[in-house]
Symmetry: C2
Subunit: 415 residues, 2 copies
Amino acid sequence: MIQRPRGTRDFGPEEMEVRRHFEDMMRQEAVLHGFREIATPIFEHTELFTLKSGPGVVEEIYAFQDKGGREICLRPELTASVVRFFVSDLATLPRPLKMFYFGQCFRYERPQAGRYREFFQFGAEIIGNATPETDAEAIGLAAAILERTGLKDYRIRVGHIGILREMLANAGVAGDKALPILQKLDKKIYPEAEELMAQAGVGPKAAQDIISTTQVTGPISVLDSRQGPASDYIRQVCDILLAMGFGNVSVDLGVVRGLAYYTGMVFEVDAPKLGAEKQICGGGSYSLSELFGGEKVFSTGFAIGFDRTLLALQTEGVQCGKVGITAFVVPVGDSVRTKAFEIVSELRRSGLSADVDLMRRGVGKSLKYAATVPSKFAVIVGEKELESSSVTLRDMNSGEQTLVKMEDLVKELKR
Amino acid sequence: MIQRPRGTRDFGPEEMEVRRHFEDMMRQEAVLHGFREIATPIFEHTELFTLKSGPGVVEEIYAFQDKGGREICLRPELTASVVRFFVSDLATLPRPLKMFYFGQCFRYERPQAGRYREFFQFGAEIIGNATPETDAEAIGLAAAILERTGLKDYRIRVGHIGILREMLANAGVAGDKALPILQKLDKKIYPEAEELMAQAGVGPKAAQDIISTTQVTGPISVLDSRQGPASDYIRQVCDILLAMGFGNVSVDLGVVRGLAYYTGMVFEVDAPKLGAEKQICGGGSYSLSELFGGEKVFSTGFAIGFDRTLLALQTEGVQCGKVGITAFVVPVGDSVRTKAFEIVSELRRSGLSADVDLMRRGVGKSLKYAATVPSKFAVIVGEKELESSSVTLRDMNSGEQTLVKMEDLVKELKR
């Protein structure tokens, strides 16, 4: 037996119904917010991701050479692709560009609960400006999507990369040199962060200040004692989110998202019920296009981990009903098989989901199969009933059977 | 500037609206027919495809080694994956299993008009039986999908691989030995087919008979003079299709689909307006699961080339309207920016697609941007009007402006 590749999944009919249900929901919500869908290729030149995330990223992705010797890889995320697309084709469109995407991403790592080698991301990017409005609009879409799915227990934490960057710069660590420290702070590995800061010449008092700043979390009032543009900025973002109806936002200056291209506001969303792997969304404002040969443009974006969000919904018991079909057409004997296809086609043309026996089974077996689909009704087509242009309509729940004129069948099924 | 990989495409907002429109349409039609969606990974063990199509297929696909030394590849098609999934997980489900899928496939070949290295397929498989009903149901779904897209000029050609197989067997060429000949006949390279037949010991008369059989095309009546189970079978399939309302089916015994696993009925759909690359759909009945370690099960399936179908629709001028949004909210000055977000959120919660200025533009520039989206209405939020709980509603087409009470705004926009 040939296995599917390690870390990948197949999705059967029931699981796929759930997935499409929530995928469509996210898409609809994004469209309501004036975002428009785009799509980019499954594989990219590896350079796209090494430019964005550094050469180390190659270790974590599916990178290979194609037959023409090109270094290509399966995309590990979609922001880089969206920005590449923006630089090459979309830079002349009116701004802001509000775009969203949904698709597979890939990473080569040890598969574990909730982490797959092929996983699905829903994401959005607003390209064109750096205003609190833009940032609030991005966070607001993420929140509206989660609200719409029915997820109850989720927490939005907003921070600002500028606060720590400024403190580090004041202590003499500016630009790229701050990055390794920020990465340790992001992962809350404080002893290593302290060591790196000491090596970079940050005094113990300043280092302690920086670490305690990453521990500032709570309602917006935790910023009351803080001055400066970054704190003001977060306050503005939270005010707009409140006006949008999202009061469940807290401040967390420990949200660092240790990547060089973030420029200001950063945010994460947790579903606490998921335990250690609780983060279901992350994003922030960034500037990437100049790295790919375009002009510098501020942007804000986020990605929702689709698989983990589904896991969170499952944990909360959020369900979506099994779809099934309206009618299953059962011919009684070979003489009426062709007639059964005429009937099933008429039902489908009327917009009713309908199926028909393909296995040449008897009536009993066909009804049994129809119940597994499940089908709400069975339409039993017998030679004798056809003489009076009628069929037998069976309610698959109650088992009740009635004789129905062919001309009334669609009407009866649509009731 | 970093380029997208050769042979791949990015899809911008307008193109993506068209693609989703037709993708959803195909999905809905399949659901109406009682098919259910499944999904499988983007990459598979390469063995899956060499087992199905022979070792030569490696030359045409994106095959590579992952970091664990596994031979994997980007899927070149989806039937093999579906059957693998069936064998490992779905074999115990009630039959027939009616499944469909939509997704990217990949092949490494020279890109040309209408042929991409990353392309999209919609496909369906019915697993569980080999009856004319099953085959008609599969062809019927393909036809119903194309009909629903609005495509006018398409031709369904139905053949039966058994007819040529039987003739070759009678001439002493049975089983796998017939395959190279069938492949030449499929591509209508008659001199080479004749040469192979001569080498295999087929006499010139029999060879001529076989070649002229592949040229039998036309309405179902072209089979009137032919006896035998395969001809009877095609007649039954066409009868059922006629009952389903698909009379535009012709017989073409030259449809061979030169692959070993086809067992009986084979069919293709052309969009003649596309010229040389006119085939938009192909399929037939097959038996593959035993090759992947499962029991032998007869199946019928097809795949529609999504990209080429869109090209055919475009050639016929079939359109889908630009979507746009209902309302764009324009704050007049900074003091009402937050209020504008409150309003846009209320509209979105009422199910109206709405957007808001994120760029801190003046009213004139915002209206200009709103026109490009396009938005049907602008909701202009001014301090003075807010005093009487009102906003100005501007019809973006006529330019007409009216003062509307906040409480009536949703109602007005939904008119």
